[in-house]
Every structure is written in C-alpha cells, then in structure tokens.
Assembly symmetry: C2
C-alpha cells in the first residue's frame, strides 16, 4: 500500500517510477524528491483519523514512502513536544528522539525504505548526529552502516557510531571531505549512498516535523518557523510537508515564513540569500561550536533558498558567543538545547529586535537536539 | 480540582490531610503516600477519554496530585515507547524523556506540586540522574534546587546540575553520605526535603510508568515487569498504579509479577528478599558501574519487598560484566540502554534460563535511561 506516485527531480523536472533504488537524478545529478497522489491521500485518511493513532512520526504514513508497514524501523521517534517559551514563541524539542536529535526522523524513514528495497549496506558522510542516528537505526534493521565523520566531530557522535556497531572512518577535514571518502567506498564496495539528499527518503522522515507542527497547533500554520540549517533538509522537508497538507485541505492560509539560521563561521546560505543567488558557494575554513552547522556547501541549497524566498523568509547568522549565551538562557528555563537549536533563539531575538518579526507573530523554533550530546558546549556555555 | 483524599503512612497507618506541606510521617518517620477517592475518579474519567489526550504522563491527571493544572511543569516527559524485543518481551524506553532518564517523571510531578505549595527551594541527595532531572524541572519552575551527589557519579550528571543552575555539592562517598549533607543543609536553611520518599509526590510521577504500560498493552496486565531498583520508587509506583487501575476497573486480573534486579555489588533488596526479611540492611562498600543502583539502603525497602511478595515476584542481581554485555547486545538492536536498564535484560535471561519465567510470559523490562548519559559504560561495553 503506497500513495507515492513517482520520484522527481526539482532541478530538471525528470521523473522516475516510485519503485526501484534511486540516488541522484540520472539526467542532471540533482537530488530526487518523492511525490504523492494527493487526491488519493485526501480520500484515504482524515486528520481526525490521524489524531487517533500512536504518537509517532509514522502516524502520517500515507504521506511517507514505505509501502509495507512491516518494514518500518521505529524506536519511538517523532511526536516530540512543542514547548511554549512565551505566549507566541514555541520550541519544538527534538532532543526527545532516539539518539537525542531530529536525525532519528530521517534515519527511521531512510533505513525503513532501504530495508524495503533489500539494501544491505549503506554509507554516509556526516557532521556527527546523522551518523549516530543511521548507525542506531541500521543496527535495529540489520543493515550495515559505514560512516565517515570529521575527526573533530563531537565525541558523543564517534562513540555512538561504534556502540551501534557501525563502521566509522574519521577524516581530517569537514563533512565535504568525509563525502569524498564515502564516494570512493561506494565505488569500491557497492554500498548504497545515503548521504543527505543523495537518496530521496531521508527527507521524507524530516517532513514529519512539518506535519507535527501543524497538528500540534490545531492544524493552523504558525507565522514563522526558524530552523538551523547545515544541509538544510529539515527546512525543505517542512516546506514540502506544509504544501502537502495544504493540498489535501488539512491546513489553510499562507505558509509560515521559513527562516534559516546558520553559524557566523559557516553561513553559505545566508550569503547566497543576501546576494540573491540561486545556489550557494563553498564556504572556506568553516568553523563553529555548532558542529551540525559546519556544512560548507549543501546539495539542496537551491531548495532551501527557494523555500525561504517563496514564503517571505530570511536567512541570518549567529555567532558562537551568541549561541552559547542562548544555550544557557534556555537551560535556565529547563530546556536542553543543542548549539544548533540555541541558534534559532538567537535568530528569533535578533529578528524581533530588527523588526522583521514582531511579538505578535506566532513563531516555532526548532531545537534539533539535546545539549547532552555536547558536553563541551555545555561547559563552554557555563564559562 | 483534585481527587486526592488524603496522605497516609503505609508503615503505621497514620493519615494526614491532602493539603499542606508533607515530608515523613510525624508518628513513625515512615514515607507518606497519596491516596485518591477512586470512586470519584471512576465517575469522572474513562480510559477512552484518556486516550484522546496529549501523549504525556499528565494525561492521567485525575490520578496525580496537582490540584491546579496551571502549576504543572511539563517538558514532554512520559508516554515513552514500549518497544518489542521479541514476541513476548517488551522494553519501556525511558531514555526518551527530558534529561534522558525516567527521573523526569518524578521531578515533573514533585516540582509541580512543590510549586503549587509555594515552595521556593528544594534539596535532594542523588546517585546522579535524579539530581539532573530535579535541576532541570526546578529551573523550568523557578525553584532553586540544591543537589548533593557522590563525587564519582557520572560526569553527565554533575554537568547537567550546573548547567540548569542548581547548587551542586560533591560528597566523597555514596548517596547515603550525600543524604546526611542534605539533612544538615535543610536544618540550617529550611529547604524543602525532596529526597526519595521523604515527600509524597515524586513517587506519584513514577506511578505513570504503570499507567502507560497498561494503556500501551491495550489495558491488559503483562505477566511480569522487571525493574532495576536503586531506591525502588519506580516499582512501588508501578505497583500502586496497577492497583489503582484495577480499583477503577480499567484493568482486570492478577497483577504482573513485580521483579527487581540490583547490581551484584549492591544488592540489599535481593539479600532481604532471599532471607525473608521485611526490611533490608545497609550494604557495605557498594560498587557497580550502574551508578543509579548504588543505593546501600532504601527508605522504601519494605514497600519494594511487599510489592514483590504480594505479586509473586522475585529479586535477582546482575554482575557488571553481565550488564555491559547486555548493553552491547541491546545496542546491536539499536537500543540505547543505561547500565541500570540493561540489568533488566540480564535478569530476564537468567530467569528464563532458571525456569522462573517462560518464553510464553509477556514481560516488560524497564530501561530507565539512555546510554548517552554513560559514555564510560559505553566504552567499557565496547572493550
């Protein structure tokens, strides 16, 4: 049972069948996205029916790409709390996922679909947390996972990869250097390439963030969503999720302004947005305490830029010192925020200060993970 | 709005009014427990109504002690997944709570009620995780938290206390030594004593574990529940929860066998159970990698022993080497288990081996926290 109609390339428009193993577009090497027969989805399920289901991201299964439910690899990911920080500001707390970050969503969906397709070994480069999540879900599925990671990635990420039995390669460089290593391994061993947007299913898991935000707000759109972008898949996923919900009439009205925050030490999307460019340039010497934001060039950059522009969003950056201050500010309210997540609060405050957002706007900020995975940043925040 | 009828002492039978600030029994210094007007609860809410509510431990609010919902301090605790490990064995994964352990339940309830009672400063000794959880919820509530902890407790626990702004005292000894320090602080400064079972509300939060297990099994009792006991409050809470559910006719039949596992290096409840004693003796030189099980003498020992005996349970111990083996075994299936949680799998396997449990028994094991908080144990498991 699937509502997937086909897989298509947003860059050149090529389309592919819903079945079979897909990586990049064969025509233009762009990322592929999953399309659904939304008329059939509209007839098959209601939001009232979804509300009766278990509190997991898989409650939205008609808008997810796994055909046979028995292939779903689930460890309780998703349906994380939306915590009010003030009357109009809400924090989506993704730390309450398996492996402590939102990466569990993409891994759950990507690994489930890989299992369905009979894939036995996957490989991915990572800034850290995605490696841990895929190692975890790969272990649960019996799929071997090969991870390449910067050698200076957080210790927690290296340890969890080994702990879940993944094959871990440390690279003296950034995620872009890790990617080159993975590409060589794939050519040599025939592993499945599970890098961000190099297969179409990881983003489908991230999409559930958008479904949940809408449902948790009583199927109303917020005014803005602020997301910390490394590879940017989450914000592309949220964008697509809200468009799909609007197409099946579960939500109405304008999409929220989709706002991206990056670290001042690695802000290729901010630069591209400011310059009116359609794609970003490789950011040299990327450096920030927010390890997940050390992505010098994202494959889906053109989609992130499109999502922001089509919704009246903006892209802003946060310094490491602002990020550490926001972590501690959130901790004083009992919130455990990863540096990446804390950056969204910096963005919110700076945008309210600048008058881009007002205190009347209902804004959702995405805390992508728990501070627990970043003890070094916690210590730095305390200093 | 409250369904609390009174507070009572299970040791001497003394009763107290439902309002006011309570610590130990004034007559016999025993722990106090909260009683409800279950006839009124039965008339006020149905299990169908509960199923419609948000997926949080607060969905059972009629059986929780907070009077005014506006006092509830919630960060998304509870309603954690019940993951099937095999056809008849299920793992309740408490790692998906704020601060990464089941201690969030007790802290959420205890801090909420403390706020309702106007308490401004609380103090507690801890083996580690309870300190972190109370620091977190205290921060969320604006209540000052004083924590005393063994100096060799996990680094993650010390760091999170400081991170959430608690006042942390490290003690050269065990939780029992930390307790003595807290008692002095309380006498000197008038802080509220929030030690395990020294106030009646923390256990009420733990009770929700029992409600959730029943609801997640379709309001059926499992055959057995295995719980790793340090202070033992969780198993007492589960016992009371299931008795209350039976009293309001939401579940029927025999209670599950309540089984306790302790570490071989600190097993006072196992020794007392084996000897037929009604209370445990102080365990000298307690030592185990499962930091949360380093509790040489629990205030609620007589209740844990009663819970086991009245339900046909047993008490068993697990060695550190068995615990590390079980952690790694669980990791190979994608489960992130704290050493304490992994001990329940050791107990299950040993009890099946010994014929005490059979493979036909439906058994729930409680993984009290995420392995993430124990990187040293993760590393030791990998060796």
């Amino acid at each position: 049972m699937t509502f997937v109609s086909h897989v298509s390339c947003p860059q050149c428009g090529a389309t592919y069948g819903s079945e079979g193993v897909h990586n990049l577009c064969e025509a233009c090497s762009g990322p592929l996205l999953v399309d659904y027969d939304l008329d059939r989805v509209r007839g098959a399920v209601t939001k009232e029916a979804v509300a009766q289901r278990a509190a997991s991201m898989w409650r939205y299964r008609e808008l997810l790409p796994v055909r046979d439910e028995s292939h779903v690899v689930t460890l309780g990911e998703g349906f994380t709390p939306l915590i009010p920080l003030s009357e109009r500001l809400l924090l989506k707390d993704e730390g309450l996922n398996p492996t402590g970050t939102f990466k569990a969503r993409g891994a759950s969906c990507g690994i489930s679909r890989a299992r369905e397709l009979g894939i036995k070994e996957v490989a991915l480069p990572t800034a850290g947390n995605a490696g841990g999540a895929w190692a975890c879900y790969g272990a649960a599925a019996g799929i071997r996972v090969h991870v390449a990671m910067p050698s200076d990635a957080p210790e927690a990420n290296k340890l969890e990869c080994l702990y879940y039995g993944a094959d871990l390669e440390l690279v003296d460089g950034l995620i872009s250097d890790a990617a080159a290593l993975v590409t060589r391994g794939i050519a040599e061993h025939g592993w499945f390439d599970a890098a961000t947007l190099k297969e179409p299913y990881r983003i489908e898991g991230k999409k559930t963030l958008g479904f949940e935000i809408a449902e948790q707000l009583g199927w109303e759109m917020p005014d803005a969503i602020i997301y910390p972008a490394g590879g940017g898949v989450g914000i592309i996923g949220i964008w697509r999720a809200l468009l799909q919900l609007r197409d099946i009439d579960w939500v109405t009205g304008d999409l929220p302004r989709l706002i991206v925050v990056q670290a001042a030490g690695c802000a290729p999307l901010v630069k591209a947005f400011d310059e009116g460019a359609e794609v970003s340039e490789f950011w040299p010497r990327a450096e920030t305490i927010a390890a997940g934001l050390r992505v010098p060039k994202a494959l889906g950059d053109f989609l992130v830029l499109r999502a922001m522009r089509e919704t009246g969003g903006v892209a802003v950056s946060a310094t490491d010192s602002e990020i550490l201050g926001a972590m501690l500010h959130l901790a004083k309210g009992g919130i455990s925020a990863a540096p990446e997540g804390a950056a969204t609060l910096v963005a919110y405050e700076n945008l309210v200060q600048a008058g881009v957002l007002t205190s009347r706007d209902r804004v959702v900020i995405i805390n992508t993970g728990s501070a627990q995975k970043y003890p070094d940043a916690m210590r730095a925040a305390l200093r």
